[in-house]
Every structure is written in structure tokens, then in C-alpha cells.
Amino acid sequence: MKAIETKDLVKRFEDVEAVKGINLEIEEGELFGLLGPNGAGKTTTISMLCTITNPTSGSASVFGHDVKKESSTVRGMIGIVFQDPSLDDNLTGKENLDFHGRLYKVPRNEIAGRINEVLELVELADKANVIVKKYSGGMKRRLEIARGLLHHPRVLFLDEPTLGLDPQTRLHIWEYIEKLNREKKITMILTTHYMDEADKLCDRIAIIDHGQIVAMDTPENLKHDVGGDVVTMTVPHGSEQLKTKLEQLEFVKSAQLVDGTLRLSVEKGETAIPIFMDVARQEGIAVPSIALHEPTLEDIFIKYTGREIRAQEAASGFAAYHGPGRR
């Protein structure tokens, strides 16, 4: 039986179709990533899988239980780490966990042991009796992960688990996620717009854009798809003609011009660079910098969507933090 299965899953809000027919099959024990820019439909998809929102059409199930018809069975089987904070700041870490344990019917004679277990796991045991208000952002996140695990869910959903955290804490959280997936065999579905996060953690990735899956495979296969090397050139405005010229070269597999960066997928980067520079000179275009790297998920994302994920994130991420009605 699949851990998660969706068929033509659609969510429509008044006039916007946020999710436009998603088909997923996630195996038990898999660490699966939903990758895409903000507003791509990742959180909406997760919300439907977690029974928070009902699908407009199509179906989704968790271990064979329909999210709409058997929502309370599903709720008992899953753990969720939300994108926005969802702790009671006026309770201690331990009290937050205890409350969770009660809601999820963790047997009372096991609760103390389990609280210790999950707190040890995220290294918060010494902060158990501290009011959550006094926790740092990273500690809160870890407590939320601990809470998501307390009732031994079979599937754990992590919605942007490291959003807004410093690099060191991110690495830490990645370690926990990998450890949990490996040792406890918990199926995990994580959404992220960090390419490196998806690349490092996930067994398989679905790239979502405008509510649709545009690519789905292992990170290795996705990168292999692009193949060869990627050359990125910083170019001035109005370099469309240069792009057209370079695209015509027979060894160039694809070219995208996004925000003043020209990205060229080629077989052998070392030999391509001098030729690119020559063409640029003939066109009278000064190229301040040029770089060569192996394909990353970033390149794959751009290949499939024609857009850069980071530029988008910078713009909408700001709104998410400072817009009204959040946190």
C-alpha cells in the first residue's frame, strides 16, 4: 500500500485554482520533497493531505484512508510541522508536548517516556520546563518537530521546516530529519523552496509550479536529465540577441535568460567558455563574469519553469513576514 496517493487532486479558491490536478504516489519510508516557489501550491497540497482543507475535486489518501471521508483516522496517523509557528508561547515545552499527547490519545502511562524521548532527539531535554516564549526560533522549530513525532505518526509532513532559520540550525534540523527517516522509517513529505535542502534530504522530488507537477524523479536523475555542465554568464540588459546567437551553437543544449543571467547547458563547459566569450565580443557585449558548474536543482527548476526560484522567494518571502495577519 502506498503511504500517500493522490488522483487528480484539485483545489480551487473562489477565483484561483491553487492546485490543478496533482497525481502522487509516495512509498512507505520515502523522504519526498515538494519543491517550488512560494504560491506554487505546495502548502495547499499539504493542507489537503493533512485534512486541513478539503479538495475541490479528485482524491487523496494516506495509507488507503481517504482524507475527506476518513479525516479523523488520517489525523491520528500523521504528524505535521507547520510553516508558521503553532506553539502555545505561554506554556512550557513539556506542557506543549503533554497537551499534544492528550489530543492524540497517547497512553498516559507512556507519555512521560515519550516526551523525554522526543526532547532528547531534538536536544531540548534541558529546556523542557522553560516557557516557550523564551525559546529561540531554532528551538521552537525543533520543539515543533518533536511534537510532530510524539504520537508516533506513520507520515510526517514538514512544511518549509527550515524557513527563516540560520544556516547552522538548518544543518541541525536536516540531521534530525535524516535520522528520523532512517531510524524510525517514518515516511516524510517535506515542502521547501530551498534547492539545497531538497537535494540533500529527499529520495524523490516533485517540482511544482503554478499548481502542477512539472517534473518528478530522484535528484540525481533530475540533474542527469540536464547533463553536462552549466555555464552562467552575467550579461547587461538587452542581451536577447546574444542568447539567440549562442543557442544556435550546436553544442548548446538549452539557454535561459533570467534576471540578467544567461544560463547555458552544454556538454563540456571548459571548451564552451572561450567560444561564448568570442561570440559575446563579436556582438559587442561586455560580460563581467562567467562561471561553470555542474547542474544543480536550481538549473532544473529554471529549465522546467523558465524562472529563478530565489528571486521569487525574495519578493514574496518579504510579504509573508511583514504582511498583515501573519504571526
Binding site: C50, T51, I52, T53, S72, R75, G76, I80, F82, D84, P85, S86, L87, D88, D89, N90, L91, E95, F99, H100, R102, L103, Y104, K105, I131, R147, P324, G325, R327
Partner: protein, 261 residues
């Protein structure tokens, strides 16, 4: 008892326990919340009872007349605030944690209502105890034990009712600013038109009509009957209205809360 019902009661208890943990933690808030009603009672009560003898208030003992009104006020304010705390839970994200848990919405509403009512009752009892020192005495015909039972029963039903009303409103308004509006446009009129300050028997017709549709007026009337023996409505009417209000608000609260996300 079947498992489902046990779980339902367990969920109610869990929600109640969280409300109470938060309440006990916010000690300073508990103390300040006692100050306002005590100020009303001491300053307003003493001022009026020395300035005049208000007709129909039981002679010169205005403080005795006012005390049940202040009890009603405490239950009203605590209940509404507690119900509307759903909005703060929403604002700070905690509501999601509760909503995705395998618990029924009805148990959340009842648990919250019991939490708010317990807080209101604790505050009411504290204030009523303190008011002994400014001369408030139970002088009704029910005897001490009977009066206390009637006070607690009445506080329970109106407390639950107003938490339910608070939850209903919080389920419908989106932003925290709306909270102030509701407090000023709804809670204060409910309080002022409850007969907490003055007898409602000889009011102009338009005002009497507003009092008659105010559930708190019946609650205050029952409380006043317990404390002083005075009343404007029959006790059975009082109890019928407060119980009806409680049932109605639990149903409306559960229905409206079901659509919160």
C-alpha cells in the same frame, strides 16, 4: 462508557486543562482582573449608597444590590474574553495544532467554555468573598447554602453562554481589531442593560424591551435573588432563560466554529 464518549470527555478535559494552565500562569492578569470589579463595587457602590437611596434597590443598602450585578459583569467579561481567545490562538498559530488533532470541534468548544466559566467562577467567588469586607451580606430567603448553590448554577450557565457567544463571534471575524469593536459595541451594552446598576422594573418601555432580550439581565436577576431576595422576573423564568441561552450558544458556537480554519 463507550470509547468514543470517553475520548470526547477526555478531549474536553484536555482543552480545559490548557485554559487553566494558561490562567494560573498569568497571575498578574488574574489580580488586575479583580481590580476593575472591586473598584466598581467599592467606589460606585459606596458613592451611590451614601448619596441616595435608589428606589426599589432594597433601601439604603445599594452595595448589596450592586454586588450581584458585579458578579454578572465578571462572568460576562471573563466569558467573552475567553471565547474570543480563539482569535488569539488563530493569530499566533496555535489553533492549527488543535484543529488538525483527532478531536471533535464540539469538544473544543465545550472545553473552552468550561475553561472560561471556571475562570469566571473563581474570580466571582474571590470578589464575592472580598465584598464581605465592604458590607455585602447574603440576606435572601434561600439561606446561605441555597444562595451559594443558586449563585454557582447561575454563573455556570451564563458563563458557558457568553464563552459560546465569544467563540461564535471570534469564528466570524478575521482580524484582531474587530475584537475591540465587539467589546465596545456588544459587551458594554449587555452589561449596562443587564440591570446590574439599577432596577429594571420602572424603566421606559424602549429600554425595558432591550433589557428583556438581554440574557444577562436574567442571570443578574437570579444572582440578585440569591443575594438579596429581590427580583424583577420569576426565578423559573430566570433559570429557563439562562439555561436556554447556554444551550443555544453551545450549538451556535459549535456550528460556527466548525467552519474556522
Amino acid at each position: 462508557m463507550p470509547d468514543g464518549r470517553m475520548a470526547f470527555l477526555g478531549d474536553i478535559y484536555s482543552i480545559w486543562l490548557r485554559e487553566m494552565t494558561r490562567y494560573v500562569r498569568a497571575r498578574s492578569r488574574v489580580i488586575t482582573s479583580l481590580i476593575t470589579p472591586l473598584l466598581w463595587l467599592i467606589i460606585f457602590g459606596t458613592g451611590f449608597s451614601s448619596a441616595l437611596s435608589v428606589g426599589g434597590t432594597g433601601g439604603s443598602n445599594y452595595i448589596n444590590f450592586l454586588a450581584p450585578g458585579i458578579l454578572g459583569m465578571v462572568v460576562l467579561f471573563t466569558g467573552m474574553f475567553s471565547g474570543m481567545s480563539v482569535m488569539f490562538d488563530k493569530e499566533f498559530g496555535f489553533l492549527k495544532e488543535i484543529l488538525v488533532a483527532p478531536v471533535s470541534r464540539t469538544s473544543i468548544v465545550i472545553g473552552k467554555a468550561l475553561g472560561g466559566t471556571t475562570q469566571g467562577a473563581i474570580q466571582g467567588v474571590l470578589i464575592f468573598g472580598l465584598s464581605y469586607f465592604i458590607g455585602v451580606r447574603i440576606s435572601g430567603t434561600l439561606g446561605l447554602a441555597g444562595a451559594i448553590v443558586l449563585i454557582l448554577v447561575t454563573m455556570f450557565f451564563i458563563g458557558m453562554g457568553f464563552v459560546g457567544l465569544g467563540i461564535s463571534i471570534a469564528s466570524r471575524i478575521e482580524n484582531i481589531e474587530g475584537f475591540q469593536v465587539v467589546m465596545n459595541l456588544l459587551v458594554l451594552p449587555i452589561f449596562f442593560l443587564s440591570g446590574a446598576f439599577f432596577p429594571v422594573t420602572s424603566l421606559p418601555a424602549w429600554m425595558k424591551a432591550l433589557v428583556d432580550i438581554n440574557p444577562l439581565a436574567y442571570g443578574v436577576d437570579a444572582l440578585r435573588y440569591a443575594v438579596t431576595g429581590l427580583h424583577s422576573y420569576a426565578l423559573t423564568t430566570d433559570l429557563a432563560v439562562v439555561v436556554g441561552f447556554f444551550v443555544l450558544m453551545m450549538i451556535v458556537g459549535s456550528i460556527l466554529f466548525r467552519n474556522v480554519h
